[in-house]
Symmetry: C2
Subunit: 236 residues, 2 copies
Amino acid sequence: MENLDFNQHTSKKYNQELEKIRSSLLVMGGMVEKQVKKAVEALVEGKSKMAKKVIKKDLGVNAMEVQIDEECTQIIAKRQPAASDLRLVYSIIKSITDFERIGDEAEKIAKCASFLIDENYLGNYSHEFMKLYQLVAINLNQTLNALARLDAEEALTIAKKDEIVDLAFERLNNDIIRNMTTEPTKLNLLLRLSWSAKALEKIGDHTTNICEYIIYLVKGKDVRHLDINTIKEEYF
Amino acid sequence: MENLDFNQHTSKKYNQELEKIRSSLLVMGGMVEKQVKKAVEALVEGKSKMAKKVIKKDLGVNAMEVQIDEECTQIIAKRQPAASDLRLVYSIIKSITDFERIGDEAEKIAKCASFLIDENYLGNYSHEFMKLYQLVAINLNQTLNALARLDAEEALTIAKKDEIVDLAFERLNNDIIRNMTTEPTKLNLLLRLSWSAKALEKIGDHTTNICEYIIYLVKGKDVRHLDINTIKEEYF
């Protein structure tokens, strides 16, 4: 496997360009991480203004997607990247779509939060909801670290943990659905809780996708659609 | 705007490679279109075997995504595409993600179909559900045509129609939710219907994304995250 040093080109400008898209991606990742955190805080702690801010700030996430995409096309056109440089650009092109959709899911949670706050209902779910959020948030945070350090082994470990997120979501969602039958008058509120939980689960899916792109970037192997639990580090 | 003739390179092989990824994308598009059709047919007509086939066939869609991605990286590495060639490759890289996710949504509908068939329940929704499906199916089919003919104006027209899909979904979903309160014993069945309707709405969103990539490919303008209804053809 070749050396993953994106600072090795004779053109200083090229080094800078690759560094710029990498750091832009990390900035975008940090931005959506914060969006998710604030959306959940708005939901669990009933912060109406915070929910509105999250919804407004999604425009900033969208703008970053367009900007980084533009920078990536520029690099392909001008620099004709090959080998690991090409994998870097390719992984970034793919990852920004997932980061942008994580932003969309945060926006959805914030919209549900607004609805639930207006109805003055949060139910008894805040504890279980926070537990699900924490699983998702840890994975997302570790993914950003793995991206910064180009750590494929770590990315593989995180991807394997998505199963735990799925199980936690199923448990919480089944509980919410059970309550819908016993408290049909609260159906509209419980549906919003269910949608918010689903949004967290989808953030987990997007995080896994990004982990797969990190593995591709570092190791040159496309592990999408493989059973991630059967992949061992020796596979690389 | 330059001539969009992907057959103009002095290298015959390069022409063939670009043609190949274009036609592979169209094959993948046709494949997911059929998956959606069969998933809905399974749901509405209670065809259990068909639902199972759709679920199984999603693996084929996934495999196509990986294969086309691989071909795109090869072209970038070997051919150093520029201008419209680069936009073609870029649009394909982006579009296959959306096609793959349309495949995922078809799989979701097929899973809901399996559940509903087992419970021997389809409810009174088949008519409304088919109406929503038809709106989505027409847009998807026209998008594939616009992609084949590289027709940006048509892509813009289709993207504008997604609003109608959203409204039809909202109407159907509100109706399903209303019934949940009056028939709480059927909650689990009604939830599956709601998830299936949501899957159709998301297929509409992915179709819109692909339309935006067609516009980018043909016109070189990134219209994502703009208010599509304010864009006139003169904008190009």
